[in-house]
């Protein structure tokens, strides 16, 4: 059973710090290993920064189930024109959007992007090991 445990609005730079701090504490309470707490918090930092830089406002939602935490970052920004390209490592080195996306993908276990011209939704999951 999936249960929503956190919902944090992302509108300004300081919200990136608030979101990653709160979600790190939540991961600790859920029993994640210290290294996974940092992986989750770092991924949240990358994805919420992308909201501030590219969409200006959005939110992050944390759902918990028996296996771990699902973290959804969504915004109503202009969308990512070419998701495949944004995820290529070569492309990402000159592009803050790409480095954030690919970084978050490596830090989490599951990673899915849905994006169109009315917004972007990134759904990630970390298993409780």
């Amino acid at each position: 059973m999936k249960e929503e445990i956190l919902r944090i609005p992302i509108n300004k730079e300081i919200d990136v710090l608030i979101a990653r701090r709160e979600i790190k504490s939540e991961a600790e309470r859920e029993g994640f290993r210290w290294i996974d707490q940092t992986r989750i918090a770092t991924a949240v930092s990358e994805l919420t920064r992308n909201i501030i830089k590219h969409a200006y406002r959005g939110e992050v939602i944390v759902n918990k189930d028996d296996g771990g935490l699902e973290i959804i970052c969504q915004d109503e920004g202009p969308g990512i024109p070419d998701v495949e390209q944004a995820l290529e490592r070569g492309y990402s080195t000159t592009n803050s959007l790409g480095i954030g996306l690919i970084g978050a993908k490596h830090l989490m276990d599951d990673f899915k992007i849905e994006s169109n011209d009315s917004g972007t939704k990134i759904t990630t999951y970390k298993k409780l090991k």
């Binding site: 300081i14 990136v16 701090r21 918090a41 770092t42 490592r89 480095i99 490596h106």
Partner: protein, 122 residues
């Protein structure tokens, strides 16, 4: 502007980053470090990030840029106290910090910096 304490220990500038910084504050801190090092008495800079338990790609790349700028000014630079979980996350983000000198703690950082400075003045 975030509070940032810069300590002068002889030829060395020690900068402990004591709190989490959002992006603009981090950029301001970087500029402050560069300004503070713009002094002929300063030969080396130790940036201590042991208080940080999250360093993401933005801050990682900013630290690289600061180190690069300081070296361009002829200063030796060392990054001190990267936490183990931060080290793992940075590598997974693809940030290897290969071209930055690092030290586990301030004592060894100062020792290493002094050696580097002595080497420069030979």
């Amino acid at each position: 502007m975030a509070r940032l304490t810069c300590m002068h220990l002889g030829e060395i500038l020690v900068v402990p980053i004591q709190e989490e910084l959002h992006d603009t504050a981090a950029e301001e801190a970087g500029e402050k470090i560069i300004r503070e090092a713009d002094n002929s008495n300063i030969k080396g800079v130790a940036i201590d990030i042991s208080a940080l338990d999250i360093v993401d790609s933005f801050l990682g790349r900013l630290l690289q840029k600061i180190a690069c700028g300081l070296r361009a000014m002829g200063k030796e630079v060392i990054l001190v106290g990267i936490q183990p979980e931060v080290a793992v996350a940075l590598v997974e983000l693809g940030l290897y910090l290969e071209d930055i000198n690092t030290a586990f703690e301030l004592d060894s950082a100062l020792e290493k910096l002094r050696e580097m400075i002595n080497e420069d003045s030979k």
